[in-house]
Every structure is written in structure tokens, then in C-alpha cells.
């Protein structure tokens, strides 16, 4: 007989109830979070990525947009740690500045989708009725454009560039926020203390912000970590396709699109840059998964 695993996970009937007092639930959360090596690895990657982004001007060994024709397509060396690209620019410095661009685009895109999505989702979940139907239809319509296609359409309208990519990737992330926030608000709303606040005559807006939203943050934070990774991935894909951030900007996707031309003679340009996208997104996903497990009572370590 294989291990059925019944002793580790609680049965489906385990109550997943109202939030417990902070001091009690905080410890299993933290314990689950730091107890998982993958989450720690994810957090480490995210911190390193943010450090790269913040310190790029000080860490860079060369000017990221200035090249030298004699130094074209050099493999990694003590002078150029990651080698040089097709225009003789230092790849290490370009990748560092690319982290800066990715962090900026990811952050602002999350602000766009987080704000719009949270407001839409909170309104839909709180008021239900026709507000819910309207938001639901809007989200359905956004989701009817498969994946990156909506972002491509937005970029077709706005034209290429960093600001356009931020808006496109931001709109791309709205549906997930709206759905998760709506579901969370719907469940939080059921708790007695929300009903009590309403019975005491609290203003709807106060109930929504102070009582409902304040207890809905956990899924939003998890989603933000996962969405940050998706935003980095989407932005680089758009730039790779040529509709996003344009060369000579050292955006990771744009670097790979340029490096692709020399893939036979200088594969290091695409290989190294792609590795950075991969590891960065992996970091955000590992951290997001860890946060989700830690905030879910069913997977917490007690």
C-alpha cells in the first residue's frame, strides 16, 4: 500500500474559521514560512534582484549603452564578466540595468493592476447584486482575450515604450486581483464582527476599509508576489516580440531579441540574460507559494 498521506493533511471537514487573535496565528505563519528552504531561496533571489536593481549604477563595470566595435560578441572574460553583445556593449552592465527596468516595470504594473483590481473586486464582493454582475462581466471580457493578446492590443494602441508596457502589463493583471479580492471579501464579510459593525451603524465605507479589507490582505500579498513574477515575464516577452520596450534600452527581453541574431556565434548573450529572467521569476514564484502555504491554515506547520 502506498502512503495515503492521511496523517499529515487534515481531512476536508477541518474548520477553516474566522481569524484567530494575532499572537496565536502569527507563530504558525512564521514557522511555516522560515521552515521551507524553497521559500527562503525565493526570498533570497528576490532580495538579490532588488539589490541589483537599486545598485545597478554602482555595480556596473561599464556604460550599459555604449559599445565598442572592436569588442563585439566577446565571450565572458575578466574585462567583460558576461562578455559583450553585438554592438560591443558590456553584457554584465546591461543585465544589471535590465534588472532596474524590470523592477520598475513590475512594481508600477503591480500598482496599476493592484489598485484597479482591488477596488473592482472589493466593490463586487461587498455590494454583490448588479455591481457584482457588472464587475464580473468586465473581468470576463478582459479574460476573453487570451493571455498576452490583451497586452499586445493595448501596446498597439499606445505604441511601444516603457510607460505603455507598464499600462499593458498592469491591465493584464487586473482580472486576477479582481477575482481573488472579490472571493476574499465575500468570505470575510460573513464573519460576525462585520455584521456587528453593521448592526452598530458603522458607515459602509468604514466597514469595507477597516473591517473587511484589513482582514483580506493575506491573499493580496501572495498574489502580489506571484504577479510580480508574471509581470517581469510578460514585460520581457512583449519586448522580445518587439512591441514593448525598444532597443537600445537594456530591457531583458530586448537584449535577448537583439542577441538572437548572433545565437550561432555568441550564444552567451541570450543564455545569460534569459537565465536572469528565469531565476528572478522563479524567486517571486517560490516566495509567493511559500507565503500562500504559510497563510493557509491547512498547510501551516503547527
Amino acid at each position: 500500500m502506498p502512503d495515503m498521506g492521511g496523517e499529515v493533511l487534515p481531512g476536508p471537514g477541518t474548520p477553516v474559521g474566522a481569524p484567530e487573535p494575532r499572537s496565536v496565528w502569527r507563530s504558525p505563519f512564521v514557522r511555516t514560512l522560515v521552515g521551507d528552504p524553497w521559500t527562503i531561496l525565493g526570498a533570497l533571489i528576490v532580495v538579490l534582484f532588488l539589490l541589483m536593481a537599486l545598485l545597478a549604477p554602482w555595480l556596473a563595470t561599464h556604460e550599459p549603452t555604449r559599445g565598442s566595435i572592436v569588442a563585439r560578441l566577446q565571450p565572458p572574460s575578466p574585462e567583460h564578466w558576461f562578455g559583450t553583445d553585438g554592438l560591443g556593449r558590456d553584457l554584465f552592465s546591461r543585465v544589471l540595468y535590465g534588472a532596474r527596468l524590470s523592477a520598475l516595470i513590475g512594481f508600477l504594473a503591480i500598482v496599476v493592476s493592484g489598485t484597479i483590481g482591488t477596488v473592482l473586486g472589493a466593490l463586487a464582493g461587498f455590494y454583490e447584486g448588479w455591481t457584482d454582475t457588472l464587475v464580473g462581466r468586465t473581468v470576463d471580457t478582459l479574460l476573453a482575450f487570451p493571455g498576452i493578446l490583451l497586452a499586445i492590443l493595448v501596446l498597439a494602441v499606445l505604441g511601444p515604450g516603457i510607460v505603455s508596457v507598464i499600462i499593458a502589463v498592469g491591465i493584464f493583471g487586473v482580472p486576477t486581483y479582481a477575482r481573488v479580492v472579490r472571493a476574499t471579501v465575500l468570505s470575510v464579510k460573513q464573519f460576525d464582527y462585520v455584521e456587528a459593525a453593521a448592526a452598530l451603524g458603522a458607515h459602509t465605507l468604514i466597514i469595507l476599509t477597516r473591517h473587511v479589507m484589513r482582514n483580506s490582505w493575506a491573499p493580496i500579498i501572495v498574489l502580489t508576489s506571484l504577479n510580480f513574477g508574471t509581470a517581469v515575464l510578460t514585460a520581457s516577452a512583449l519586448s522580445f516580440l518587439g512591441v514593448g520596450v525598444q532597443p537600445p534600452s537594456p530591457e531583458w527581453g530586448a537584449i535577448i531579441a537583439e542577441g538572437r541574431q548572433y545565437i550561432r556565434v555568441a550564444p552567451h548573450v541570450t543564455t545569460i540574460t534569459g537565465l536572469f529572467i528565469f531565476v528572478t521569476v522563479l524567486g517571486f514564484n517560490l516566495l509567493g507559494d511559500g507565503l500562500r502555504d504559510a497563510s493557509d491554515p491547512r498547510t501551516q506547520r503547527r
Partner: protein
């Protein structure tokens, strides 16, 4: 009955999608009449072309004309190719389906296989490896994976072509690029769903009455474990098509996703409009199909 209701619910979404596509394409900066007329054209020529395209009429009227055209399959004429958009779309679509189905097949076979195995071998190194594989799959940029596969299998080993279309050899690398991404997610969900089902009483009963392990696993457990997997397949279709857009571009695959990207780069408005609309409609249809499959697998859905 259930299907009819889902179909009715899709109608407002379809109308909203046509409206968004129509408005977006008209918001694109640049005057299509001037694009067609060329740089040397006089204002009179541009005016004539504009009237010819119906662009001088009120926008709402243009939308009605657009919808009427849509109803009979007329999506306008591509600026770049000079052919009807619908012809171009239909010509490119089979290649996309071919790639998507091949990729999906790889995802499902590899994903469910690995997922079941890791549920059975729970807690072993294989199980932990599956989780890493799954999360790596969704974190990897597909254009990068595609280029790495090209470097190894086309440039270094020379086993497969680096791009193009025609034989099965051309299909392998793009399909693997697309399939590996889905496989990880499917494996992960199959695993957790199997673990959930394996705990149920009816599985224990089946095992207790002496049925062979293989029979319990596939007949009793896997069938029920697949319900959430099918749902997720539906939810993943969008991400899957995103990857298809990128994959087609890298491998020079002559599908509709690549057509859309080149239309954006060429500012070919009718073609952008037609191909985006087509992909959105196909996507809505695919989701409907998943809903139906879902209802067939799990009878509870039909009465919900």
C-alpha cells in the same frame, strides 16, 4: 440545458469583445487612409480613400457596419497583404491548432504521468523534484526555453531544424517548448488532486476489498482526481495561448499568433482587428468546450 445557459452567458462577453477590439483599433494613432495612400498622396486622394473605407462616417455607424460584416464573415481587407482578412486568418489558423494540440498533448501526457507518479511516491526525491519542475516550468520565459532548445538541438547537435514549418521534425521543438510549460502545472495539480482523492473512503474501500492497486489507482482515484485538472486546463488556456504567440514568433511558425504580432508591427489595422477578434472567439469557444467536458466528468456541475 446547461450548455444552452453557458452559451447565452457568453453572448454579452462576445459583444463586449467585438466592441473593445473595434474601439481599440480606432484609437491606434495614425490615419489608415494616409497609410494606404502613401507619403506622396495629395489630400484629395487621402479623402477619397477615407470615404472609400467608410472612415468619414460616424463611429457608431462604423461599428454597426463592422458588426454586419462580421455576421457574414467579412473582416475587411489587410493593408499589408491586400487580401481579405478572413482568408488570411483561416489560412494561418490550422498551423496554430496543430502546434497548440501537439503542445497540449505533451502537457497532458507528461503532466498527468508525472503527477500520478509523484502522488504515489509521495515524499520521495521524485516527488520533490516534481514540485521544482512545476514551478520552474511556469517561471521560464518560453522564448528563452525555445532559444536554448535551438542552441542545443539545432545549432550544436543539428538534429532538428531551428525553425520553419512542414514536416514533423519542424513541429518537435515548438511543441516541446509549449508542452513543458503546461506539463509542470498539470503535474502539480494532478499530484495534489490525487492525494486528496486517495484519502477518500471509497478508495480505501476499493483497496480493502482486495482490488489490485493499479485498478484502484486508475479506475477509482485518477478519474475523480482529473476533475480539477480539467478546470485548470480551461483556466490555463490563456497562458497557453500567450506562450503560443511567443513560440510561433521564435520558430517562425506560420500561425495566427505570429500573424497578429506582425500585424501590430506593420500597423495593419484590419488584420489586427480580425486576428485578435478571431483568437478571442476561439478562446471563448475553447472555454465553453472545457465547461462542457467538466459537466460530463462531474454530474454535480450540471445541476448547480
Amino acid at each position: 440545458m446547461y450548455f444552452a445557459r453557458r452559451l447565452l452567458e457568453a453572448i454579452p462577453v462576445i459583444i463586449a469583445v467585438t466592441f473593445i477590439v473595434f474601439v481599440s483599433v480606432r484609437l491606434i494613432p495614425g490615419d489608415p487612409a494616409r497609410v494606404i495612400a502613401g507619403l506622396e498622396a495629395t489630400d484629395a486622394t487621402v479623402e477619397a480613400i477615407r470615404a472609400d473605407l467608410g472612415l468619414d462616417r460616424p463611429v457608431l455607424l462604423q461599428y454597426v457596419v463592422f458588426l454586419r460584416g462580421l455576421a457574414v464573415g467579412d473582416l475587411g481587407t489587410s493593408y499589408y497583404y491586400g487580401t481579405p482578412v478572413i482568408e488570411e486568418v483561416l489560412r494561418r489558423f490550422p498551423a496554430t491548432m496543430e502546434l497548440a494540440l501537439a503542445g497540449l498533448a505533451i502537457s497532458i501526457v507528461v503532466g498527468i504521468g508525472i503527477g500520478v507518479l509523484s502522488a504515489v511516491k509521495r515524499g520521495t526525491w521524485w516527488d520533490r523534484g516534481t514540485l521544482v519542475f512545476a514551478i520552474a516550468g511556469v517561471s521560464m520565459p518560453s522564448f528563452w526555453l525555445a532559444l536554448m532548445l535551438i542552441i542545443v538541438f539545432a545549432v550544436d547537435l543539428g538534429w532538428l531544424p531551428a525553425g520553419g514549418y512542414g514536416t514533423w521534425r519542424h513541429l518537435v521543438l515548438p511543441a516541446v517548448t509549449l508542452g513543458l510549460f503546461g506539463a509542470g502545472t498539470i503535474a502539480r495539480l494532478t499530484r495534489s488532486s490525487m492525494l486528496e482523492v486517495l484519502r477518500q473512503d471509497y478508495v480505501r474501500t476499493a483497496a480493502a476489498k482486495g482490488l489490485p492497486f493499479r485498478s484502484v489507482l486508475f479506475k477509482h482515484a485518477l478519474r475523480n482526481a482529473l476533475v480539477p485538472v480539467v478546470t485548470m486546463l480551461g483556466l490555463q488556456l490563456g497562458a497557453f495561448l500567450s506562450r503560443a504567440v511567443v513560440t510561433e514568433t521564435v520558430f517562425g511558425w506560420p500561425g495566427i499568433a505570429r500573424l497578429t504580432v506582425t500585424a501590430v508591427l506593420d500597423r495593419d489595422f484590419p488584420l489586427i482587428q480580425g486576428s485578435v477578434l478571431w483568437l478571442a472567439l476561439v478562446f471563448i469557444a475553447a472555454n465553453l468546450f472545457v465547461d462542457v467536458v467538466y459537466a460530463v466528468i462531474d454530474p454535480r456541475i450540471r445541476y448547480a
